[in-house]
Symmetry: C2
């Protein structure tokens, strides 16, 4: 999504998680922790998704995704931190059981879901309060913070947990607004 927002040509190379390719010897040379994504920019290689999108936003100065205003910048970073520290790990527990597991024909373990769900609800309550004050996490503009959250929110809908979003009016409005961006529509397809 960051590359599309920046209107940058790129090749997307699939590392197939369904085949566990992220743990292959070839991929471990690119990413010693055996996960995705990795960016290859000429001879320079970089891993960790949040590092990659910050790097891209620094490199390509068109359509900036980092606010110049200092407090907005701080809020963007805070919400990227919240995503990594409190949101995505818990959301992924639900997504793995209710979406990826089901795709593999497994029965979801609802005790895992029951433990993760209140934690996700709490983060979304905090998000709802913040988004009642300004339309984006950083403030007045779409930023990298939204990009870090979007895959997990989308997958919550895939896991039939869209109610978590829709019952919080400010989060709902935020999601409706950002998910209709043409770049997201292209990425999710």
């Amino acid at each position: 999504m960051t590359l599309l927002e920046k209107q940058q040509q790129h090749d997307f190379v699939l590392v197939d998680l369904m085949k566990n390719e992220q743990k292959s010897e070839e991929h471990l040379k690119r990413h010693p922790f055996g996960v995705i994504p990795v960016l290859k920019d000429g001879d320079f290689e970089l891993y960790e998704s949040r590092a990659i999108i910050r790097y891209l936003d620094h490199k390509f100065t068109n359509n900036p995704l980092t606010p110049k205003d200092l407090e907005s910048f701080g809020r963007m970073e805070q919400w990227m931190g919240i995503e990594q520290a409190y949101f995505s790990e818990q959301a992924l527990k639900i997504i793995k059981q209710c979406y990826f597991g089901k795709m593999r024909g497994q029965t979801p373990d609802m005790s895992i879901v029951a433990e993760a769900k209140p934690k996700v609800e709490h983060v979304l309550d905090v998000a709802n309060a913040a988004l009642s004050k300004h339309p984006y996490f950083a403030g007045d503009s779409f930023s990298l913070a939204e990009i870090t959250w979007m895959p997990y929110v989308e997958y919550l809908f895939s896991a039939e947990m869209g109610d978590l979003i829709n019952k919080r009016s400010h989060v709902k409005k935020w999601w409706e607004n950002i998910s209709k961006r043409p770049t997201w529509q292209k990425v999710r397809g």
Copy 2:
């Protein structure tokens, strides 16, 4: 440490983890996830440590802790990502058992330590390889990436796990270099 590197006057307000004050009603108003730290800068409040140090480095432009060179910037961000995603969570498991637990008079659960230790070793192997190429995570200069790692490395020594550092020559040299900074000596005291 960031405030000291920036030579900024500040008041340090203790939230006593030993008394569980981070979960008090008063603190939860400042930090809805009940952890530390929180920055109060005039009327602006910010939580999430990595957001706070980036905010401070943006606000105070003296003694920059973010490299201007693009690839160095990418590496700094990658190593901050590695700290949060792979290093500190595992290191903290060891530190809680072998340091904080002991301070509270508890017997360490060595099965938790045995599970976390190889994961910490792996991260430190990756760090050792990177630090064989340049003296700091970002490249030629001390950056925010070091600051995010330092508390956990220091606590590994407190947990009598300093061998994890000292048996890796490049990590050892890196630690000896950065831990003698006057700002760190002041902070750890």
